[in-house]
Amino acid sequence: MKGHQRLRWERALDSEAIWPLMAGFGALYLAFFVGYPVIYNLIMSVQQVTLGNISTVFRPFVGLDNYRKLVDDPLFATVFQNTLIFVTGNVALQFLGGLALALFFQAAFPGAAFFRGMILAGWILPPLVIGAVWKWLLASDNGVINYALRGLGIVSGPIYWLSDPATSLIGVTFANVWFGVPFNMILLAAGLAGLPQDMYEAAALDGAGPVRRFFALTLPMLQPTIYALLALTTIYTMRAFDLIWTMTHGGPVDSSNIFPVWSYHLSFELFDFGGGAAVSTMMLVVVFIVALIYVRSVRTERVS
């Protein structure tokens, strides 16, 4: 009886009749968990939203006022620039760091698996903890990093990593890079492991040295992985909030303030929900564009 039932199930799952069901489920999921919040956010961004009317959908329509207010805010340029630096810095450094580590651990030296595991440990820590640890490491007076830099004679006085507006963004970028590198490493290591070994042997016989093999074979072959990774890292970094909130609260003087931090500040500290929603929408547009570029690049890859 049981076996018969299972059989029927398996047959149903194998048959093409189940496809519309699957597609329908996918569409429902998209509409509910992706579409709804996006549209809700979009609506909020063109309304005047207060605590008094936040529970209804019919709130005073204000057009693009929220957006106009944001763009006119002197903070906008600062936050925009900070976000740009933070995201590009993170995407570049996380990728390079992840690639370096992935290549490093590809060499099967004794203990490679253990060290790789240890590096991954950084990734499973919550951002709040990582923020606290890095804040402590980067402290100007008794922080470990300044202590080390001074001990090595690289600097004479302390570097005010987080408390100097000139370096605070570097400080939080550093911490976020550290946080994101393991993820990059794992994806790139998986990509590297998928590359055929004999291709490298053929290239060696063709006369390609290690550097040439890397640029002529490894990089182009990893291209799909790299595209996916760059897109994902961009999107993850666009959402970085906890870490900065813990480390600097966006300060000093908004020098480490980026869009997600600003959005939170507007919505939940200043109770300017329309403004917060407008910032979220702008972030969403950027994420959407990145996703679109990624999807297109994957599609052309497959066609060619």
Binding site: T50, K135, S140, N142, D164, D254
Partner: protein, 414 residues
């Protein structure tokens, strides 16, 4: 043996049925969101007390971290899922009240025989009012004072029994206590870009003789100059710009500074301190003689749409009785009621100091746009302390934001 067990089982079963019948008849529990995270929190003890004395209507409680309280309440309001009772940070009451997010408790408070407004510290009471209406009831209060390392005072030739009482004395002490070779700063406070920074700076602004309405006055500039000098002269760490109050206190506990501005909530950590310490009232500005400190703490509010307003207010009244209020000191906080005093308190000197500070503690606002005012202040403090602007310029910029806000809606009594 077996018979005994059977008897017990029958008895238990009967009890269970009874209990079931009783709970069916009982009123809905009072739902409460609160900030009592640690197991030792007096608030939790008081909830347990209520539940023991009111088994008919127990409190159904949920902990929300302090930093997420506003966010949770907003989400609750947006989705229509609010508790009957909530603890609110006192400076945001006016914001929630003007936007219609809190129930009006005016009549209930007037009718209450437990809650007597004139027995409360005026500052505490003021935070619960907006536009002549009562939107909350003070639950707990805290304030700021100056902790100092008595051993370090002695070692540097300062009298540990005579803490700095004036700004000049404070400057002097900070200078003497600073030891750059040993990475020791004389002074510590919190100037972070968040409400905590405003909370710590306002007492100094008030001591100067200035108010939020006179930010461009020489007095206001003097207050910000005082803080700026501490950092510029290396008498306070630049990390005051990014470290929270508890982090600055941690540094002081580790011997990294001689003095720190902090609150009574840190007293629990003082039990493990390895040096002799004292806590003194904040100093005043010479020639002005104004004593001022900050006023923190939570208030009880009933969110709009709560299903159990009457029961919630009963809980508020219960929590306002001396037996519950005086618990606060065990968690390093104070009762917001002047007339209530702990007999034989732990750390009696500290208790006396902080009660004295409560007398001069002033509320932030109340103002519905307090968060905007505070944000402008934070920016001014940070611009001055980082050297991006002079204190004058920074305060002028803040004034340009704050003055129109106060012109439209003034702060009562300012």
């Amino acid at each position: 043996m077996r018979r005994e067990f059977l008897k017990q089982s029958v008895a238990l079963g009967a009890l269970a049925m009874l209990g079931g019948a009783r709970s069916a008849a009982a009123a809905d529990p009072v739902t409460m969101w609160h900030i009592f995270g640690a197991e030792t929190e007096p608030g939790l003890k008081n909830i347990t007390r209520w539940n023991e004395t009111h088994p008919d209507q127990p409190i159904d409680q949920k902990f929300v971290p302090f930093g997420q309280l506003s966010q949770q309440l907003i989400k609750g309001i947006a989705t229509g899922d609010v508790p009957d009772l909530i603890t609110i940070d006192n400076p945001v009451v006016a914001s929630f009240a003007t936007q219609g997010a809190l129930e009006d408790l005016t009549d209930l408070v007037k009718a209450s025989s437990f809650i007597k407004p004139d027995e409360y510290y005026p500052g505490s009471w003021a935070t619960t009012l907006w536009d002549g209406k009562q939107y909350a009831v003070p639950g707990e209060a805290n304030t700021l004072a100056l902790y100092y390392n008595a051993d370090m005072f002695k070692a540097r030739g300062l009298d540990p029994e005579a803490p700095p009482r004036t700004w000049e004395a404070l400057r002097k002490a900070a200078e003497i206590l600073t030891d750059k070779d040993k990475n020791v700063f004389g002074m510590a406070f919190c100037a972070i870009q968040s409400e905590e920074g405003t909370f710590q700076f306002l007492p100094f602004l008030q001591q100067s003789g200035a108010t939020l309405k006179t930010l461009t006055s020489p007095d206001a500039v003097a207050a910000l100059q005082l803080w700026t000098d501490f950092v510029a002269k290396g008498q306070a760490s630049r990390d005051v710009l990014v470290k929270r109050q508890f982090e600055m206190t941690s540094s002081w506990l580790a011997g990294a500074s001689g003095m720190v501005v902090s609150g009574p909530w840190e007293l629990q950590r003082m039990k493990e301190v390895k040096f002799n310490w004292r806590v003194a009232p904040l100093p005043h500005r010479e020639g002005k003689g104004i004593e001022a400190s900050a006023l923190g703490g939570y208030v009880w509010g009933v969110p709009k749409g709560a299903r159990n307003k009457a029961a919630a207010f009963k809980v508020i009244e219960f929590m306002s009785e001396p037996a519950q209020m005086l618990q606060a000191w065990s968690g390093g906080r104070l009762a917001p009621v002047k007339t209530m005093q702990v007999e034989h308190p732990a750390m009696p000197e500290a208790y006396a100091t902080f009660r004295k500070q409560m007398e001069v503690a002033r509320p932030r606002g109340p103002h519905p746009r307090w968060p905007d005012i505070s944000a402008a202040m934070q920016t001014a403090i940070q611009e001055a302390l980082t050297g991006k602007s002079t204190p004058e310029a920074a305060l002028q910029k803040a004034s340009r934001v704050i003055t129109p806000i106060l012109d439209r809606t003034p702060i009562v009594g300012l």
